[in-house]
Symmetry: C2
Subunit: 316 residues, 2 copies
Amino acid sequence: MATLTLPQEVPSPTQDSETLRKAFEGWGTDENTVIQVLGHRNATQRKIIRDTYQELYNQSLIDSLRSELSGDFRRAVVLWAYDPAERDARLVKKALNSKKIGLDELKVIVEISCASSPHHLLAVRKCYCSLYECSLEEDIILDAPPSLRKILVGLVSSFRFDGAVVDLDVATDEASKLQEAIALKQLDQDIVVWILSTRNPFQLKATFESYHHNFGNHIYEDIKDYGNDMLASLVNIVIRCILSPEKHFAEVIKFATAGWGTDENSLTRVIVSRAEIDLMKVREAYLEMYKTSLDYVVKDDTSGDYRAFLMALLGQ
Amino acid sequence: MATLTLPQEVPSPTQDSETLRKAFEGWGTDENTVIQVLGHRNATQRKIIRDTYQELYNQSLIDSLRSELSGDFRRAVVLWAYDPAERDARLVKKALNSKKIGLDELKVIVEISCASSPHHLLAVRKCYCSLYECSLEEDIILDAPPSLRKILVGLVSSFRFDGAVVDLDVATDEASKLQEAIALKQLDQDIVVWILSTRNPFQLKATFESYHHNFGNHIYEDIKDYGNDMLASLVNIVIRCILSPEKHFAEVIKFATAGWGTDENSLTRVIVSRAEIDLMKVREAYLEMYKTSLDYVVKDDTSGDYRAFLMALLGQ
């Protein structure tokens, strides 16, 4: 359910590198060519292009992109050019380095741990260690708001089973445990962290269904009743990312494009990180939830090369 | 610092497979040949032999070994024949499936998370998921003694930075936090679990040194004062495995061979799992700690093919 489109005949990595190099040459940069090449290559192809470019010109493609492009367009293309694990490791580091770390910044951590494959999460952790010489967990403990450290460390440390194995008795039992923790307003209990961070998504969906069936409300409705509580809000993002990542990402785009300004960082993050995964489903969810086309909103809120690049990733 | 020895000219995987197949043929099994071949091949070579054997005879080498060998010898050779990550995943599962799970059973989990590389630990977790269709953490939460679940989940979920980066201020600060938790007899505090499970071994050694310097005692001495407390004992094994894995393993062999009987499971685990890593250092530590040769003790406590196999792994 990706939106990324590849040409029927993909040029060789050498041809692509030469085309990009040519686009960088001279006074101006031929941004359109950059979009035509990189905006229509998958992660494996981009990796080979990076390697080939480095070999041919003894320079990193990322560095060339950084020096040739600018603004939101540069940021989006550079993120896209990275290996997905490195991209996410850098996004997480940036979030943790923010002056004020709120839920908006921390969403990326939840997305990587609850709406990505367990193998991708491990790759991000490995990459984080290589880039920053410490574990991702250490930086979370250092930088994240105290009330969120425990759940975030649990989430990023998880390696969930990657299959549809569900035990309904466990679902019933753990729904009760969650209900108890919510009633006591103790979402930082070990058991809550364990359930949310070790169970596979299918098991968790069964648990949330069991919660709804046995206690009347959806679990996120009960947690919302908490009011202004960062941990409760984070847990709701976790639940949303597990239950329906596409709705979560549709919502992020909605918020990023609502009102006068645009939150380009969030918009870029969603389009770049999901174009090869489930952006088609995000598009459908968006239409269903907001009765508007996602493509229209993105087009309307952006301009120039940045817009052209996002539209390319959206398959247009 | 491995003890494993390889022949100067290693036969091809096909030759090795044929030699093994021949050793299995007829009425008896030629155990000596099994030892001569498998007892002198490293993990990569054994993997290729497994693959080649499977291809040549349409049968798994592990199954052949299981049906041809017996007793402690079989158990040791089969464990050795597995891929190290699969071996450890199976050892952990066996520990968690024990009728009575005590510290002896759980040592293997601490060893894998505190005395192995972070990459090996991840490989074990991946393998555990593939073999048992659930995460290792889920089984720990289900089966381990309640007081140990939190620390064990933290330990197996860790992915420590794999380098000698030390911050002495952090060491001083965290030594104080550990001292406080020990004084309060609250080793299950989040901060204790975080320190022990996210910091790299070099950082942790600095923290333990700082503890000694600032509070007079070694940290494990203060924890020992707790008395009969499973969590305290487990934390001491963690500390031992981080400070000096070779002393920990020497101690395990000492206990396994002490008194009249022999704990073959523990003896096999140490020799098989460390022969390619640091068994030479374990041997030196053993001599220093107990003024006896480890090789002598192993020889004295075992017999027959089992003894011959362990001695082969010890490089004799």
